[in-house]
Symmetry: C2
Subunit: 480 residues, 2 copies
């Protein structure tokens, strides 16, 4: 709160994007640095956004029949080692407990970086017959991946996420699930986060360690870099074989089941901040904003102020299907309050002064456009709903437009290099799918293969890097 | 599921309580042992109970103005050492990370056993003036306390809980908060868990390491041992001084604030299982049961079965304000299904056969009493609500009666010893408040001081142990 009081001026988003990002988080009270290397603290404002994300996803998981469970934080090191790619992928990032209850442990325990190994060890005990399938579980938890260059929300040693893990009797059902999981994320990003992006398959090099195929939703940040929003993995039978998962099918035969896993983390809040915010601070999409409307009575220090307070509370009550706050704090100017709620990104401001009281209308101010309008008290709920819907839509359209304007088809490698040096953004280009080209391209341009979009057509072309024949245009970008 | 299929017979609760407790958890699918020493897995049935507990508490916290936040899992060892009693209390139970990102850490990190130290370090940065108070935060998280003799839900190395932490400008406000927190827990235990208990103050020896006073809700388990249901701590200014919390008050003076903290954990589910269950399995109070009603169509393998399914689904829809499951599984006898849902503790069974269809009435069977009744389809929602209310009440009254019947006033130490050897239960007895008597009494009878009940009157008596003058009757019991 001190910070806000002595309000530091926020640096312009266009002038110093990295500093803007950090400062807008600290000043708006979303989060703070923790006194533990690489870790962060979620302050109530920031955590409330995560709670709203949780609510949306949790409901969708449950509608699909996925149930919540909880597996241990600690994983015996030997479990992780069972799947070779998996341990190689994660071992540089592990936090390891070596002392427990005052004694050196005989077997070291890894703090989960992800939970496949411990969960599938349990699945191998639980699954016996086709009657036990599909098994569809999810857990909301903290995970730890050691981070040397932390950034609030985007890269922290500990973060929060959900990880879904499903087991199916047939490959078809498994594919349906892995697609459902991705589609669900895509819908949530577009409809709730109001962020557009591209979705598709990862390259072999970029896929999850141990997965058969990884699917992703990639969003474009204002600095032209991509952010991976989630992943949905088709694990095939790979982990099932390693963890000895088997089931007796209806035909009396013992079979190996198929698996998926998929996750979305608090990293997503980083995208939300970057994509929508402006020089005044955060802009939160109404569907995820902790407060959707702030009512600010315009006090004049007179007896009349009481009427304003009474009316403000009346209005709040009449808007009970929305998340509403009233700012009754004394000792702050109206201008100061306007600035503070803009910094915090509340989508809609409702101003209430003596003029409004007399005219029986409230002044509504949109955070995204600054547009003002007068709404009669008698139809406030309707007008507020319309305004919030418009804001939600407008934010998405802006994000969508930005992505389109910054997605370029390129066939010439020099042009590719130049774009990655200057404006960045997404590049759609032919790639021969040779990992060597991918590696060299990354070395020379810092861009990685983000995804093969689902809508990529079969074409004939030449690899952007080696000029060998290629069949599909992949999406490239520098990345967070 | 395999377990249920080859249904092992559940041992009788009265014959082998400890084995019954373990087996009912495993067989009903609440939880499983994890392949990590001291840890457990929350299966969907068990986790759903925790979700219901979370929903209730979270709403009550928010109504009080407490906001959710999230602080790091890892705490630098030096933080814990700042408060002497605190580190002494927790150090035998700590799990310590010594390796991070492949390297030996210079500063060891403790996996949080509780979060006072890391949270108050942050509070000291955030709190500057009276305007920042009260600061009332809560976090839902996992904590780790190394456990040598684990028992599912009751004692596990990792468990889930909420921890509330509040800071106030005055001692009065602080006391109000610490009382509110306890009262809230008491109400939730009584109204939702349907478990009665006694509430009051802990002895000096039993209080939280670093607290000024600890308050508790103590419940009596069927084997006559007590279980501590939660704690609410008045921290006074103790941690505030250690962590350098200060605020500028309205009068312009710098002051030290007052603090509380309070928590309730997944241990509470252990109480729920023990208190209500019977020889057939779990009995879940309707307000916390994942499924409140199970509809079992009684199939006869004929074309008519289709009508039953249709009606069952119609009924489910008409009961949409309840949590309802329909058991349509084939290949199981009706008797088998009845047993299985009894094992799982679903409060109300709705049987639907051709007879019911004809008479336009459903058969309702209460899990707690086995009582059957016929409820007309036309007033099903009303009848179901009444039945669930009755079950909820009955379970509470049973628990309350059990506690009363097993709470004894004792003034003679030999009688005390005999009771603690045989029937156990709560004993109300005078105690001089000398820790030596408390220690010796524990050594000789395994009973500890559970609480000074809030309703304890000022009386004149003699200490049950040393016969010195004593003023209040405390409650003693052996404990989990």
């Amino acid at each position: 709160m001190k910070k806000i009081f002595e309000k530091e001026k926020l640096v312009k988003k266009s002038e110093d994007f990295a500093k803007w990002y950090q400062d807008v988080i600290l000043q708006s009270g979303l989060a703070d640095y923790a006194p533990v290397k690489g870790c962060m603290v979620f302050k109530p404002q920031g955590f409330a956004i995560w709670e709203n994300i949780q609510k949306v996803l949790d409901q969708k998981f449950k509608e699909k029949g996925v149930k919540n469970a909880y597996f241990p934080l600690f994983i015996p090191e030997k479990f992780l080692k069972r799947e070779k790619e998996h341990i190689e992928g994660f071992s540089p990032e592990l936090a390891v407990v070596t002392i427990g209850g005052g004694e050196e442990l005989k077997e070291k325990l890894v703090v989960r970086p992800t939970s496949e190994t411990i969960i599938y060890e349990m699945f191998s005990k639980w699954i016996k017959s086709w009657r036990d399938l599909p098994l569809m579980l999810n857990q909301w938890c903290n995970v730890v991946r050691w981070e040397m260059r932390p950034r609030l929300f985007l890269r922290t040693t500990e973060f929060l996420w959900q990880e879904g893990h499903t087991v199916h009797g047939t490959q078809e059902e498994n594919l349906e699930m892995v697609n459902w999981a991705l589609e669900n994320y895509v819908n949530v990003y577009r409809d709730f986060f109001a962020i557009d992006g591209i979705w598709g398959k990862k390259s072999e090099r970029e896929k999850f360690p141990g997965a058969r195929t990884t699917y992703t939703f990639e969003m474009l940040m204002p600095d032209g870099k991509a952010l991976q929003g989630c992943t949905s993995h088709n694990l095939g039978q790979n982990f099932a074989k390693v963890f000895n998962l088997k089931f007796l099918d209806k035909d009396g035969k013992e079979k190996i089941p198929w698996q998926t896993c998929w996750g979305l983390s608090t990293r997503s809040i980083g995208a939300l901040i970057m994509v929508h915010g402006d020089d005044q601070g955060l802009i939160l999409p109404p569907k995820l904003a902790p407060a959707q409307i702030v009512i600010i009575p315009i006090f004049q220090g007179k007896e009349d102020d009481k009427n304003l307070i009474k009316k403000a509370e009346e209005i709040k009550k009449s808007l009970d299907s929305f998340r509403v706050e009233i700012d009754l704090r004394e000792g702050h100017s109206v201008g100061w309050k306007f600035n503070e709620w803009e910094l915090r990104g509340v989508p809609l401001r409702l101003e209430l002064g003596q003029k409004e009281l007399k005219e029986k209308k409230a002044t509504l101010v949109r955070r995204d456009t600054g547009e003002k309008s007068l709404a009669p008290f008698s139809s406030l709920a309707k007008e507020v709903k319309e305004a919030l819907d418009l804001i939600q839509k407008n934010l998405f359209l802006k994000s969508s437009r930005f992505m389109k304007e910054n997605t370029r088809e390129v066939s010439d490698y020099d042009a590719f290099k130049l774009i990655m040096k200057k404006e960045k953004g997404f590049i759609r280009a032919f790639w021969c799918e040779n990992p060597d080209c991918e590696a060299k391209l990354k070395e020379e341009t810092k861009a990685t293969v983000r995804a093969l979009p689902f809508d990529a057509e079969e074409e004939k072309g030449k690899c952007i890097y080696c000029q060998e024949p290629a069949e599909k245009k992949w999406v490239f970008a520098q990345t967070y």
